[in-house]
Amino acid sequence: MAKSLTQEFTKGLWAEIPPFRLVLGLCPTLAVSNTFENGIGMGIAVTFVLVFSNILISALRKIIPAKVRIAAFIIVIATFVTVVELLMQAYTYALFLQLGIFIPLIVVNCILLGRAEAFASKNGIIRSTLDGLGMGIGYTLALGALAAFRQILGAGAITFYKTPIQLFGPSFEPFTFMVQAPGAFICLGLMLAVMNILGKK
């Protein structure tokens, strides 16, 4: 059941979209999806790490001995996460302050180790790159959708390029519950339900 290269890429966008279908990486999904910009920022950071760790792990898959593969994967992932952290501090410090602890925590995000173990360690570089890219973009889209949903209901605004844009008139009463932690669980649950209904056919 070899998939075409396009399928390797597109599976992450819908059929195996990480938070909704694989139900992986939920901790940051819930925590940083309070504003649209945070969600997208986190998604891009994860995509970067995912693509590069997939490439490197796929390139090294014949050299890494099976018994220490998890340790090797973690070193590779942790390296790229630190790279992202340093670059974010240097270039997008405001976003770094917002995402804070969730950037270093990408290391233990199951999507990364999951893709390394399940895919990159068994497939070639091109396939692994496409897989990482697809999964990363899927994750970004999912986070963006969840964050937009929460922010629009919870604050009546959407943050885009640091400026919140108010969508409704002054009579709008923000449903603040949605931007708080419990709202994240409820929104995620609703979106999972919608995904399941759509996937049923």
Binding site: P65, A72, I75, V76, A78, L87, Q89, A90, Y93
Partner: protein
């Protein structure tokens, strides 16, 4: 045995490559990160107390080695001359150190302003040192030579009600900054001459 050796060698090489890459990146981004931290953490306080500056005090800064400590000074160009200088200080508050930025006018030796940068004081009580501009406004315009103390300790600074410890921390932090300024004044003046006035 062969497998053992291979495991050790592979892991060592991966770790070495990773360490090397990160060290190089750290060196490369260090300066930018320092600038960003200054901009976001201390920037607002520096800008606020050096409002009159025609230049950007964050970028016109210099350092002086004082004993073993490297201290940073931010220079404000006022009326075409480098006239104001802001320096960092801190005092022991109720919830740890209260970080301060103290601005001094070097021509008439008066305090230009005081701002709280970092603190973890009780919200609603000590935290007002940062949020209530009236408290720090008391320091503005005081001559450098005047001792800084809260009224409870026989001074002239009105403490925030319910937050004497925080008020003391700010006062002693300001006093430290002033002492440091007096001690390093010749060097500060000397270094300020190099600041571009444009």
């Amino acid at each position: 045995m062969r497998e053992m050796i291979k495991m050790v060698v592979v892991l060592t090489i991966i770790s070495l490559a990773s360490g090397g890459l990160l060290a190089a990146l750290r060196d490369g981004t260090q300066e930018r990160i320092d600038n960003q931290v200054l901009e976001f953490v201390k920037g607002p306080a520096v800008r606020d107390i050096l409002k009159a500056a025609a230049n950007d005090p964050i970028s016109s800064r210099f350092q002086i080695k004082d004993g073993g400590v490297l201290r940073t000074f931010f220079v404000a160009v006022i009326d075409g001359k480098p006239r104001g200088v802001a320096l960092e200080s801190s005092g022991k508050g109720y919830g740890g150190d209260v970080g301060l930025m103290v601005g001094i006018d070097v021509t008439d030796n008066k305090i230009l302003g005081v701002g709280v940068t970092t603190m973890s004081e009780t919200p609603g009580l000590g935290a007002r040192a940062k949020t209530d501009p009236k408290f720090v406004a008391q320091f503005k315009g005081r001559p450098v030579s005047e001792p800084v103390k809260v009224t409870q300790d026989g001074g002239t600074i009105n403490a925030l009600s319910g937050a004497t410890i925080t008020s003391r921390a700010v006062s002693s932090g300001v006093a430290d900054a002033l002492a440091l300024y007096e001690r390093l004044k010749p060097q500060i003046i000397d270094k300020m001459k190099d600041v571009k006035t444009k």
